[in-house]
Symmetry: C2
Subunit: 320 residues, 2 copies
Amino acid sequence: MTERRPTPSGVRAAADRIASEVTRTPLLPLDHEGRRYWIKAECLQRGGSFKLRGAANRLAQLDETQRAGGVVAFSSGNHAQGVAIAARRLGVKAAIVMPTDAPRVKVEATRAAGAEIVFYDRETESREAIGAALAEERGAVLVPSFDDVDVIEGQGSVGVEIEAQLGRRPERLLVPCGGGGLASGIALALPGTQVLIVEPEGWDDMTRSLEGGEIVPVAEPAPPTRCDALQTKRVSPLTFGALREAGARGLAVSEAEVAEAMRFAFARLRLVAEPGGAVALAALLSGKAGPVPEGTVVVVSGGNVDPDVYAEILSGASNG
Amino acid sequence: MTERRPTPSGVRAAADRIASEVTRTPLLPLDHEGRRYWIKAECLQRGGSFKLRGAANRLAQLDETQRAGGVVAFSSGNHAQGVAIAARRLGVKAAIVMPTDAPRVKVEATRAAGAEIVFYDRETESREAIGAALAEERGAVLVPSFDDVDVIEGQGSVGVEIEAQLGRRPERLLVPCGGGGLASGIALALPGTQVLIVEPEGWDDMTRSLEGGEIVPVAEPAPPTRCDALQTKRVSPLTFGALREAGARGLAVSEAEVAEAMRFAFARLRLVAEPGGAVALAALLSGKAGPVPEGTVVVVSGGNVDPDVYAEILSGASNG
């Protein structure tokens, strides 16, 4: 049996399928140090991150029986909101398994979108086990946050929009990476574009997997990070495979570089970026991405952050 | 002699003239309390506010001799940045007269855009006199922040974009109002749209002027306000005239309502709105604008705010 894999044509079909449900987020110019770059502002997406795209594409393909059983997902918050919004639109029940330490703003928004929330302890419980048990018990469909062909193809619609907005494929693109759903979807959408994935320091498993040619998990113990959206301990063969075939490379940025990028997004772009959403911008601004060509596209993937955390970062009280 | 007045065709010509220099800012959907509204996010404009539009339209029409003499403007910050950015692009020198209490972020951005800054004391000095003297001394052209046909027509390009993005003219539109350049330009661009202008409490001179049928200044002493961009003590016959002919009406919002709107823009729109930029959103959210129809457009006109002020508002430490 040949397992289904995400494809460029699948990404284009997804982009068409979900076009009426997602915001075509703006590609904003950024003039910085004499060069023009482009910011794909996915923080302006409905639900505050790109996650609605994959969820909408997955849920659109459920049959009547599956819709009646509802959906289950586990997520620290952005995928949660994406699934909740997509489910409500289709009149499908959604239960979301969230860690007790998820940002409050993400918990509240997920609840406001009409989903039931089931909490788990990130340290002692397995969200995969809880999610699977819930799905089994209810006859619900589990919607993975990245290890799923439809989800990856949905996220790839970001790349389809970038090409349409720019009028061509960019030479280079910087994108945040947790499980790799967004990055791999975009890589499929934009063949020929050099994709650079960016992770938080200590959580750079996709970077090391791409370097080594095989999937390696996050090295334990992983350091604390404010990038809750990127705390994925092991990527999937689907996302890793697509990125490896695209010749993508990776790099890691520090918490201080992320905080600096969030302050830059505030002052220069007037965009609210969450920590995990700002890592690619941090790679550009810190110089860690090296000299990047004019016209490079930087994806700001999300903007859901607790106001007190944001206020603390703005005040510079903490760079970490 | 018939004085030149801003016109709908002038607005459309301005929109074409400046199209390559300004960002076509997104019109973002906002689903709130069961209705869909649209946010015109001018805080994402280059320079962080709509002001580049009017400045670019004015400067594009200077002749060679005028360009050689440079330009002078007075502004608490947004017009300053608009003029500075437009001037740099044309290789024209710009001197900006700014109050000593202007937000630091606006002063720094204006300087970063290459303009010379001349400070004045808002309490004891007249910026008009300083600006006029500077212009005279240098043979420079004074670029008014709102009392100018080309400036008004440039700002009106916001309305031209709204119609194109929405595919029709909106039934109703809420827009922040200081001197009225943006509001009157949009009213000219969108005949038939009910324009509701919004001002800070105590600074509602355009509202009272529209009610009374003649220009009345701000009543002294005017209360303190965080809406530095809207601290205009007297509107102009050009802006008042266009709004009166359009049948526009006005209303005022409190500082607490503005703070709440800024927090909403942060959490729900992931947009950084400055106090003056958030007044129209405040009018919608507070209910002060009354029941507004589906499809109402709300202009968020700027996003330049000092990080410490923003952090304080986010933390809710102060509602005032």
